[in-house]
Each structure stands twice: as C-alpha cells, then as structure tokens.
C-alpha cells in the first residue's frame, strides 16, 4: 500500500512539472493554432537562467525560500522575454502564412536554441545549485517518504496554475485572450489589440515553462542544453491528451501522464517509459482527437 502511495506522490510531482510546460503549449495553440515546438527549449533556458542568476547573485551558499523565489522570478521574467522575442521575430511575420510554414519555423527555432545552448553553455551536464534547503525532515509514514521539496514543487506548480486560471477567466486580459482564440479578426474589430494579446500569451506561457525549468533543476540537479526535448514532447502529449487549447485539460492531461509513467515504470517495465507518452498520443489521436476535455469544434465552410 505504501509503495502505491509513494508512486502516486512521485507521479503527481512529475505531472506538475509536465503541467507547467503543457500550459504554455495549450495556450499558444488555443490562440494561434500553432504547436510551438520551441517551448521545450524555453523550459531548458529557464533552468540555465536559474543556474546563472544564482551564480551571478552569489546565492549558492545562501539557501532559503527568498533565494528560491527570487531566482524563480528572474527565470520567469527571462523566459517571458525570450518568448516575446521568438514570437516577434519568428512567428509574427508568418501570421498570415499557411500553418505548415509556422510549424517548420517552430522546429527551426527549437533546433536553433538547442544548438546555441550547446555552444553557449557547453554540452556537458551542469550541476544546478541547491538554492533551497529546508531543515524539516522528510515526512515518513513507515516506508513512505515525502520530501518537503516535492511538496513545495507541487504547491508552487498548482499555485501558478490557479493564478493562470484566474487570469484567463476572471480578468479583462483573460477575456481578451479567449476572444482572440475564437477569432482574430472579429476580436480586433471589437477593439482588442490582437498583437499585444498574442505577445502576452507567449510571455505567460514561457514564464510558466521557465518556472518549470527552475523547479526541475532544483529537484533533479543535472541540467544540460538538450534537456528540453523529451519533456517538451511529453508535455505536448499531455496537452493533447487533455484537449489542446483547453487549459484545465492541459493540467488534467499532465497529471494523468505523470501518474501513468510512474506506474508503468514502477510496476511493469521501466524501458518503455518514454514510449508510453507517444503511445498515448497515437491512441488519443486515433480514438478521441479532441482530447479528454476537448470539444469538437465544427468548422463552418
């Protein structure tokens, strides 16, 4: 029983990271019908910005909640900036082009970021500074161990997701984002500055990915320039699983994927961990392409 609960805890931690990244995918798709393949790399940049800012501010030897929050903030801001730049330089000029052009550009940006990362940071794995240490012991219930860090990561992720939900459903910005996602031209006719809204969407999504990068760097202290590829793809699968374009769906899909991965590896065959995500993708696209929470939107011809 304890083993089961341990797996549940581990799966939820994993899922919360996927969730932060998946939100960025789903928001951008909702608003632009674009799958931003470069999103995984923004997550990677978040981890590296986190590492370098810790070093720059000299925080490696001063672990505390304040250090963590400041590094998190810097990382999120940095990634928001990167997201904004990518949208402006790579995607906006292609706004009226066929979608395939945008898709290819996204892949191009992804590769560009990966290999620039290798040149700039060096392709060997780096150790992420442990800027957070709490003197609380791990919570143990018999064999079950819950690290305080896992709880902090879970709480932070959920908090960020709730903030996002609030923004989207309870603020004017959110309403504007939803309007633009329904129809660009109509929204702009209503007086909504579509370009600005789109930039804001990118920035928010990227900030969340950046946060995920820092949290992952903290939990699994090894980071390297190619670390964003696989989690990026898995987060994309999570977003599709939940219904791409649907924010709640992304979160649901992410937790589902995290738990599924954990149970597969823990109880069955560890080797198929990565294959699971892609099998789920194929199955969902075959049987319920709109995802668990997605709604089939008919296109009027």
């Amino acid at each position: 029983m304890e083993e089961f609960i341990q797996h549940v805890i581990n799966g939820l931690s994993l899922g919360s990271i996927y969730g932060l990244i998946a939100l960025g995918y789903t928001m951008v798709f909702g608003i632009l019908q674009l799958i931003n393949f470069a999103h995984g790399e923004i997550y990677m940049l978040g981890a590296f910005i986190g590492m370098y800012s810790t070093m720059f501010l000299g925080l490696e030897d001063k672990p505390s909640i304040m250090s963590l929050l400041s590094v998190l903030f810097i990382s999120m801001a940095g990634c928001a900036l990167v997201g904004f730049t990518i949208e402006r330089l790579a995607y906006r000029p292609l706004r009226r082009s066929p979608r395939i052009n945008l898709l290819i550009t996204a892949v191009g940006v992804s590769l560009f970021l990966q290999f620039s990362g290798q040149i700039l940071f060096g392709s060997d794995p780096k150790f992420f500074p442990q800027i957070y240490q709490l003197d609380i012991e791990d919570f143990t219930f018999g064999e079950l161990v819950i690290e305080p860090l896992q709880i902090i990561v879970l709480i932070l992720s959920i908090a960020l997701m709730i903030i996002l939900q609030t923004v989207i459903f309870k603020t004017r910005l959110g309403r504007a984002m939803r309007a633009v996602s329904f129809n660009h031209d109509l929204a702009s006719l209503m007086g909504i500055p579509t370009n600005r809204i789109i930039s804001a969407t990118f920035m928010i999504g990227s900030a969340l990915a950046g946060a995920a990068g820092v949290l992952v760097g903290l939990t699994y202290p090894k980071i390297e320039p190619l670390m964003g590829t696989l989690p990026g793809l898995k987060a994309f699968v999570a977003a599709v699983l939940g219904g791409i374009g649907n924010v709640t769906g992304a979160v649901l899909g992410a937790f589902t994927l995290g738990l599924a991965e954990e149970f597969l590896v823990g109880y069955w065959i560890p080797n198929y961990r990565d294959a699971l995500a892609f099998s789920i993708l194929i199955l969902i696209l075959l049987f319920k392409p709109s995802g668990l929470l997605g709604v089939n939107r008919a296109e009027k011809v």
């Binding site: 083993e3 150790f127 064999e143 954990e262």
Partner: protein, 375 residues
C-alpha cells in the same frame, strides 16, 4: 665529375633522409570531450597528451615526433564511427587510441580492423570489444573480471547476501557488467532480489527506486555512468533507502560527487587505479599531471597515459618503417610493461590481465579500500 655526382647524391640522400625524419608519426584519438560523459574524454585526452609530450621531448620514436589528432565524438557511437573513418582515410593515422566507452569502441573497432589500423582502447571493459578482431587491443581489465570483483567484495568484505541491480539498459558496458556481477554473486550464494533498469539520459529514477526499496536489499549495484549514478544516489537517499551503493569504473569522475553530493558517501566502486597508491611511479605521474593540468588525475587519465605509452613502446620495438602489421605484432607481444595502473601484459585475447582496486566514496574524494587480484 664523379666527385660532384657522389657529393650531390650524398646531399640528396641526406636531404630526403632528414625530410623523412621530420615527418611526424600520426596517431588518431577519438574521445567524448563533450556530451554526458565529457570528463571521460577530457581526462583520457590529457593523459594521452602528457605521455606524448614526455616521449617527444625525449626524442620521439625512431627519431620522429609523435602527433596526436584528436576528434570529439560527442558521446555518440555514430560520431565515433565517423571520426575514426575520417582519421584513417583523411588524416592517414597509423594507430588509434580510443574510445573509453565500450559502446563507442564497438562502433569504432570494425572500421579499424577492416583497415588494419591497430587500435588500443584505454578503458573499454566490455569483452566484445577485443573480439572484433586481431587489430583491437585494450590495456585494462575486462568486465567478466570486474563483475567478479564487486560481487566478491560484496560477499566477502561486506558480507551481503541480498543485492538489487539497477542497470542502464541503453549501455553495453552497464548491461554486461550487471550480468557478470549477477553470475558471480549468485555463484557465491547471494540473492539478486530485483533487477531494475533505466535509460541513459533519464533524470527520474524514483519509480525504479521505490520498487527496489520494497525488496529491502542490503546493497544496490549500479553499473552505470557517473551522470546518472549521482542522481540515483540523491533520489535513493531522499526515498530513505539505506542500502549501500556499489558500482564499476563508470563512476570515476569528479562530477560524481558534484552531482550526487553527500548521498554518494559510503558507496563503493571498482576502478583501475587509486591516486593514493604510494608507489613512486604513480606518485611521479600524479605530480607531472598536476603540474600540467592543475588537478589530481582520475583513472581515465591514468589509463589514457598507459595506453599511449604501451602503443609507443610497441612502436619502438617495431622496425623503423612502422608498418601497421608490425605495430600490431609488437602490441600483441607486450609483456610486463610497467604502467601507472600496474603491470600490463597483453594476453592472447588482446586483453590486459590486471588487478582491480575498490574505492570508497568519502566526503567528495575516493579513498582506497582494497585490491582484488585476478584468478
């Protein structure tokens, strides 16, 4: 007239002889200077470089200087194959040093064998590497022995009877070593309570470790590379696992304790050499290396140095024309060569028969625990 002819003939011979003497001996090196196991490639490269500089300043081999052409394979077997092809066909090397990882040596070996270029791997321990052909040699022990070493250590020194295995399923070295350990451990009356696996590049091992924790082993044998082992140690500690961690020479890197931190303490692994060895040859080597590179050499650097020296020794014993078949023959005949990592004799399977040391990780350093002799 005859005098002039004789003099000019003599001058021409002298000129061509000196031109010939000036041409350097080209040796190719393939290593992972970047990528997940970058420290393996960099350490080995530095060890090789040190050996080459030493020999060159003493006059070189057959009056010629040695030149090493190093290519980075980024830790990928496909790149290793490309690199070795380039070294043979474009740079026309007459011998090869590399690679550290068995997976990459297995990619390089067939190409070296086909082109009859002798290849000496400093640290690949999987037995399949030298089985590729008679032009592939190694100066280290092989995994059937290394697996035995840790199994024996667990049974006799630590008195463990229940061990779990956590192997890297994408890595030939890891899979092989895990199998050899299992064989010997079971032979000695031990029990493998669970056999889990991961893939190189994974960062989350909690699922596998939770399953291992259920079985309550006294130790976990993790024959992988230092990048993942560091994370595994951390996560095992966080999950409250008290079992001792054990591993092989893939752990040998300063980054192991950087990534693993305090969770690595009191773990044991088998290796080719210990920097605490008091023999004068080892200490001299450590001094030279520290002066050149500013750090204490790890096992990879020592093996790189020895591999280069063994190759050079074989070249010295070959006729000056340095035909690759002669170099190969002399390599095969290497007997009792005194290397930094011990006495190296190449047996008829082109492997080196050597002792292994067991090191204990303690507060960021590797402390010598014991030596286990072959046979």
């Amino acid at each position: 007239m005859r005098n002039l002819f004789l003099k000019s003939a003599a001058l021409m011979t002298l000129a061509s002889a000196s031109a010939f003497a000036a041409e350097p001996i080209k040796i190719g090196e393939v290593g992972s200077m970047t990528g997940s196991e970058a420290t393996f490639g960099i350490s080995t490269h530095q060890g090789i470089e040190l050996a080459i500089k030493e020999v060159n300043s003493a006059g070189g081999v057959h009056g010629r200087q040695l030149q090493v052409i190093s290519l980075d394979d980024q830790g990928k077997p496909e790149e290793a194959a490309t690199a070795v092809t380039r070294l043979i066909s474009q740079d026309k090397v007459i011998a090869l040093l590399g690679e550290v990882a068995s997976s990459r040596s297995l990619a390089m070996g067939p190409i070296a064998q086909k082109n009859k270029i002798p290849m000496v791997t400093p640290s690949s321990t999987n037995p399949k590497v030298t089985e590729i052909g008679d032009y592939v040699f190694r100066v280290c022990f092989i995994d059937p022995f290394q697996g035995q070493v840790m199994a024996q250590f667990a049974l006799d020194n630590l008195k463990y009877k229940k061990v779990a295995i956590l192997r890297d399923v994408k890595n030939d070295y890891s899979v092989g070593l895990a199998n050899f350990f299992t064989e010997r451990f079971k032979q000695g009356g031990g029990e493998i309570v669970i056999d889990q696996s991961y893939s190189a590049g994974d960062i989350d091992f909690k699922a596998q470790l939770t399953a291992i924790r259920q079985k309550k082993p006294e130790a976990i044998f993790v024959p992988g590379y230092y990048t993942e082992v560091g994370l595994i140690a951390r996560q095992a500690k966080n999950l409250g696992i008290k079992a001792t961690l054990m591993g092989g020479d893939g752990w040998d890197s300063p980054k192991l304790t950087e990534i693993g931190g305090g969770a690595m303490d009191n773990a044991y692994f088998s290796n080719h050499y210990s920097s605490e060895d008091t023999s004068p040859q080892v200490q001299q080597f450590i001094e030279k290396y520290k002066k050149a590179y500013g750090s204490v050499p790890d096992g990879l650097a020592a093996m790189g140095y020895d591999a280069a020296m063994v190759l050079i020794d074989a070249m010295k014993r070959s006729p000056a024309a340095l035909k690759t078949s002669d170099i190969r023959a002399q390599l095969a005949g290497t007997k009792d060569f005194q290397g930094v990592t011990g006495k190296i004799t190449i047996d008829d399977k082109r492997n080196a028969v050597k002792s292994a040391v067991v090191l204990k990780v303690s507060k960021g350093t590797f402390k010598y625990e014991t030596t286990i002799k072959p046979g």
